[in-house]
Amino acid sequence: MVTRRGFLKGGGLALLGVGLMGGIPAFMAEAAASDKLFRPYKRKRVLVCIFQRGAMDGLMAVTPFADTYLQAARPGLSLSAAKNGNGNPLIDLDGRWGLHPGMKAFEDLFREGRLGIVHGIGSPNNTRSHFDAQDYMESGTPFNKGTASGWLNRAVGLLGHDAITPFTAVSLTSALPRSFYGDHPSVAISNLQDFAIELKSNPAGANIAARSFEDLYDQTSSGLLQETGKESFEAMKLLQAANVRNYRPANGAIYPNSPLGSSLRQIAQLIKMDVGLEVAFTESNGWDTHFNQGTDNGIFARNVADLSNSIAAFWKDLDASQDDVTLMTMTEFGRTVHQNGTGGTDHGRASCNFILGNDVGGGKVYGNVATLATENLEDGRDLPVTTDFRSVFSAVADGHLQIANDRVLFPDWVGAKAPVMRGVGGGHDFFITASK
């Protein structure tokens, strides 16, 4: 087991003899009251990943709007960049690519050079099963289901130091995601507010129980239970001191009232608390748009608005911590070029993803996307995968977290990193040829 003793030492809480009568040590309570948070850790770089489950239609999110093949294949699902048509036009990024109008929150970030987009990204395994494709993307081994660990868990192992806090790798989900499976400490928390001993309508009783538990775990002969018990109570006090319940985002940032908005708000809290967070994960659902996908309004538009507004609020809220953070989205595959018979799109191959951060080579749509003529499509129907997701994930891990051991991070993968991060990768040799 990886020892997390460091948390206790590094945190300083134990050394200061914080025993706790009322749950909050005095100096922390004062700090919380004065908005000066207790910062026991050296600031860390943080990678935040969002999995868009269900397969986002990359061609609608970021549209090659001049492509007449696309317009012909999607008579009911096409948006135009022209400002004279019906509804909201696409946001013209560079004369070729148009951002869905629901994502106008991304426009400034893109133009400022902080937001990069990779198009034609996906897995070399051509499965069109959500389960398999997610599984492969999260394990990072597209042809091997038996890989026990997830790529983000392996990333934690490659950080170059023991995980010194319980918050090194946190997933804001109800269950541990596949990406986090593995031997390195990682934790799923659905809500930071739950990080407390609860006895409904009896807070005094809860205090007594908490003290009793703390004492019992301190005394147990099981090393695992004792250490984790200590960590749990230290973590609980830390969160209580930070007053997570009454968190106010910085800069007037307003998160959407959605699961993703709430998750990102809590990740921002953890980052600003300096509790040692380095890898964070959360997810966004509802991308499997087989029916009535909509255009500038409808299901898809709502989804991209939630995604981009949540991320933009997160970025604004990060404030002085922006330099420490890179955020990356991912989705298991894209959707068919042709619309289907029920106003939606079916499972396809490549999609696109978004990378946000001050060390991202932003303001650019990367990738190798040909016109969508049938002969250019995979199996005659889908946007072909021209960028292996691992060439992007590894570039981000390298560029932001300085994790360069690709043999551990992505075993079986031999390829070049995509040049999406400043100072990482380069040239165009990261493109792969479409598999037939």
Partner: protein
């Protein structure tokens, strides 16, 4: 089930359980009057320094979902070996469980019935559009109307949402674990399900998982490993989960693929995992070449189509005609000879000559089931589950030897394990960490809880980190303490203890006073003494009780805590447990005047602390 007579018990015992290689030279003897079985083995717990009661508690902690109040005494009275033999036979009548389960109408459905009754979400919409019930254009903007129309359509057609099926399935799992009398069978069902994991997260296989557990896993949980392997291989849940349903010989040049146009080709997923995870283990000595060849052997192993659309060739020929063409149809399983790779294959040095069919796969699985690597892999996994996270090689050797000698007879392997000194060693006792499911069910059992609604318990288990049936990877949940215990999950365990004992887990009724034979403890110390004996039998808790008593015995404390925390500047430097020595008199007399409500609350709190304590997390 009706209570069976002694003769039946005897015969089922003879057939299923009795090792004829009697251990310790003890002779088989049976008391023919009452049908009590006296098994031919003796457990070596005294060598390890355990008393009979301690040994009984250990046995119960490993092979049940937790001892119920008084169960240690009952097992001692019956004899440890006799209890064990009974559990191995797994044929105790279970009427009250059956009664509990009878209110769930989906538990006995066949896979075909499930497929007919519980269509997947997308499927319903397609059917509704096809039937002209839903006009997709008019519904583009009105999601409420769309949902309403779908709901009405389902009602009309007698269709039900898939989630209802899963919910019933989760509920039965909770009830069986909590109330089933054949506890070992249930524990082993859990073990094998996790070993041959399938997951609801994979939509294709999800609806077939209830029947998978019911028909494939549970009836064979104490049988022969080879049967489990073959039956899991042929079940729709596994065929879909690891994709073998779609695996077929690649098309020869110019061959017409007919109805299989879209899906022709080899898929190695199952072939790989059956070796890596189900049998030989990742270091078991097979190569990528073996995986590919095994996948070719298993081409054509698929699911019998459950709706007309998929039947194609099946409808064109009679069963006899199909059989003559090499097809095999058994229940939900179909060997589709047309999709089988008829060339020669070599797996692990064994040659399958060209032209073979279904039997090739059976031979392959038999080979794997009897492989030395498999024996060691399974022996180790069982020892990890039941002995310790790091079992000794000597124990694994003994178990693997039995596995090979006894044709993968799981009962015999378990007997070898429990007859080994390693099982009773102090390095093993209390060294396993309960999984969240074991914790939750164990807590209910230890309190004689009445589960009126099992689903909230299922949710608590998920919250503590074990979302049953949703583990995505084919590895199953890792079986080690360090996986289950982390900061988030540990606080949830404590909160679960408090919630359960204070009656705040919806659908579970607890009567703490009744549990203590109607006696209401005088004070917190008395409560601690009484309930820790009930909940944690045969554990030495003197130190725990001594430490906790001053904290719990002081109802005024909470008030002080509140005051103290509002003056956080003073409180922050106070060590817990010191307050009594700092000029705050121990308010034992205040406890006496506490109201009944307060008393009840305090009792719940004490019991909650016992359940959330480190001691209760161990088994």
């Amino acid at each position: 089930m009706v209570l069976l007579g002694g003769h039946f018990l005897l015969s089922s015992f003879m057939a299923g359980v009795l090792p004829m290689h009697a251990l310790d030279g003890a002779r088989l003897s049976l008391s023919s009057l009452d049908g009590t079985r006296i098994p031919p083995y003796r457990f070596p717990y005294r060598m390890a320094g355990l008393t009979e009661r301690q040994a009984a508690a250990h046995l119960l902690s490993r092979f049940t979902y937790g001892a119920t109040p008084g169960q240690v005494d009952a097992v001692v009275k019956m004899g440890l070996e006799t209890w064990w033999a009974q559990q191995l036979a797994a044929d105790l009548p279970d009427d009250s469980l059956a009664q509990c389960l009878s209110r769930y109408d989906a538990l006995q459905l066949t896979n075909q019935q499930v497929a007919d009754l519980y269509p997947k979400a997308g499927q319903v919409a397609r059917m509704a559009i096809k039937d002209g019930v839903i006009d997709k254009d008019s519904l583009k903007t009105d999601r409420v109307a769309y949902r309403e129309a779908i709901r009405n359509y389902m009602q009309e057609k007698g269709l039900k949402p898939e989630q209802d099926l899963f919910r019933q399935f989760f509920c039965q799992k909770v009830l069986r674990a909590a109330y089933g009398r054949n506890q070992l069978q249930e524990v082993m069902t859990d073990f094998w399900f996790n070993h041959f994991n399938v997951s609801i997260t994979k939509n294709d296989c999800a609806e077939f998982i209830p029947a998978y557990e019911r028909d494939v896993i549970r009836p064979n949980a104490l049988g022969h490993f080879g049967d489990l392997l073959l039956k899991t291989a042929k079940s729709p849940a596994m065929l879909y989960y690891l994709d073998n349903f779609s695996s077929s010989a690649p098309l020869a040049e110019g061959e017409d693929s007919g109805q299989f146009r879209k899906t022709r080709g080899l898929n190695e997923n199952y072939a790989r995992e059956v070796m890596e995870l189900h049998t030989m283990g990742v270091d078991g000595g097979y190569t990528q070449q073996d995986v590919t060849q095994a996948a070719r052997v298993l081409t054509g192993w698929t699911v019998y189509p459950m709706n007309d659309a998929g039947k194609g060739i099946i409808n064109r020929f009679s069963e006899d005609q199909l059989a003559r063409r090499g097809f095999v149809h058994e229940g939900d399983f179909l060997f589709n000879a047309n999709r089988h790779d008829k060339g020669e294959k070599i797996v692990l040095g064994h040659t399958f000559p060209a032209g073979g069919g279904y039997d090739e796969g059976v031979t392959l699985l038999e080979m794997l089931a009897h492989h030395l690597s498999t024996a060691r892999f399974i022996a180790r996994k069982l020892a990890v589950r039941f002995v310790s996270d790091d079992p000794s090689p000597a124990l694994i050797d003994k178990m693997a030897k039995t596995f090979l000698e006894k044709d993968g007879d799981i009962r015999q392997v378990l007997i070898t394990m429990v007859s080994a000194p390693e099982f009773w060693n102090s390095a093993a006792v209390r060294e396993k960490t309960k999984s969240p499911f074991e914790l939750a069910i164990g807590a209910v059992r230890s309190l004689h809880g009445v589960i009126e609604q099992p689903y909230p318990l299922y949710n608590w288990v998920s919250r503590m980190g074990e979302k049953k049936y949703y583990y995505q990877a084919p590895t199953g949940f890792p079986d080690k303490g360090s996986y289950w215990i982390n900061t988030g999950s540990l606080l949830n365990r404590m909160n679960f203890g408090l919630a359960l004992a204070t009656g705040r887990v919806p659908g579970v009724r607890i009567d703490l006073v009744a549990l203590n034979n109607g006696h209401e403890p005088e004070d917190a110390q008395a409560a601690l003494l009484a309930y820790s004996r009930i909940i944690l039998p045969e554990r030495n808790l003197d130190a725990t009780i001594k430490r906790l008593t001053p904290m719990l015995n002081d109802p005024g404390l909470s008030q002080k805590v509140d005051v103290a925390s509002s003056r956080a500047g003073d409180a922050g430097n106070t060590r817990p447990g010191q307050n009594g020595a700092e000029g705050m008199p121990a308010d034992n007399d205040m406890a006496m005047v506490a109201t009944n409500d307060q008393k009840a609350a305090q009792l719940g709190q004490v019991v909650g602390i016992i359940i959330g304590s480190p001691e209760f997390q161990r088994r």
